[in-house]
């Protein structure tokens, strides 16, 4: 049976930030590069035992996509909400 990939996704206003939970390796680069500190390490554990980031301050997101560009594991992406 195909397991559905679990997403940690938050939307407000203009942007939606989604984290693919089981791809994250908890390197912390997305949290470091975010210029306005949207992302915070969550308490969720994925199947490899890492804590993926959580976009808690999503209402401040400016959509620069630095987290998406700097993620080494294709685990985070930013979409514009129409």
């Amino acid at each position: 049976m195909e397991a559905q990939p679990s997403l940690l996704s938050r939307t407000t206003g203009k942007y939606r930030v989604s984290v693919v939970i089981d791809r994250c390796k908890e390197c912390g680069i997305c949290i470091f590069v975010c210029p306005i500190k949207v992302l915070v390490k969550s308490s969720v554990l994925n199947k490899y035992g890492y804590h993926p980031p959580d976009p808690v301050n999503i209402d401040k997101c400016i959509g620069c996509r630095l987290c998406e560009y700097n993620c080494p594991d294709f685990a985070i992406y930013v979409e514009k909400v129409v």
Binding site: E2, C27, G28, I29, Y69, C71, P72, D73, F74
Partner: protein, 276 residues
Amino acid sequence: MAVTRQIHPLDKHLRLERIPTLYCPGCGLGIALGALLRALDKRISEGAINPDKVLWVGGIGCSSRMVFYVNYDAAHVIHGRAIPFALGAVLANPDLLAIVTGGDGDIAGIGGNHLIHAARRNIDMIVLMFTNFVYAMTGGQVAPTTPRGVSTTTTPRGNPEYPVNAVKLVGSLNANYVARASVTTPHYIEQFFYKALGMRGFRFIEVVSTCPEIYGRHIGLRDPVEMYSELRKRIKYKHKPSLEEAEIDWERGIVIGEFVERSNPSLIEILKGVRS
């Protein structure tokens, strides 16, 4: 069970059954791969490149394993011999777009002679060299690009040798495009690779990468974020820098930019008689 449904915008270029990659947490290679795929995606959506004609070739090493994760025709060959394999493929079928990926040990160390002669003959291929300053996959032995004085697994009292400067070496030969980017500037990797995809001849891009697990352990930057921020402080972009500025010096900073741009006739063009 791996995540196989496409969710991320780059998932159509990846072999999802092999994701997550084997790279250590915080490895810069994943950032570089994402940037390369964005540039390739842009060229494919413009109609300039046929995805069926793209060939990725990798030798041995962490960076060469990149060809495992891309959803294109790919070959994984013996250590240092990725450039000769790509040369054979391009000569047999000149329509192919050959992309060679490899680390500094694979391209500049073991396959250094192939690099020199491929650049001299201006063969139609793109060579991407990911510099992480050590042989990381085998445990951190000294590589030809290791800076002087760094203690590695095989040089516990500090590296006594001078490193090779691959950008200056290739730039002094007949290569058509020589550039350097860093994983802390993924937009420049994307921009340079996008430009290289639209050119002919030998194109060489060096990507300075972070290796927190192996190289970071040797220089005392074990944390991925710490190593990323230390490298980012040292990266300086220059518009059209000269080859004299290409030296990698951890203290004085690492210059990135497009070092060489030429329009010399490539080997395929000479053989076909298009240009001489």
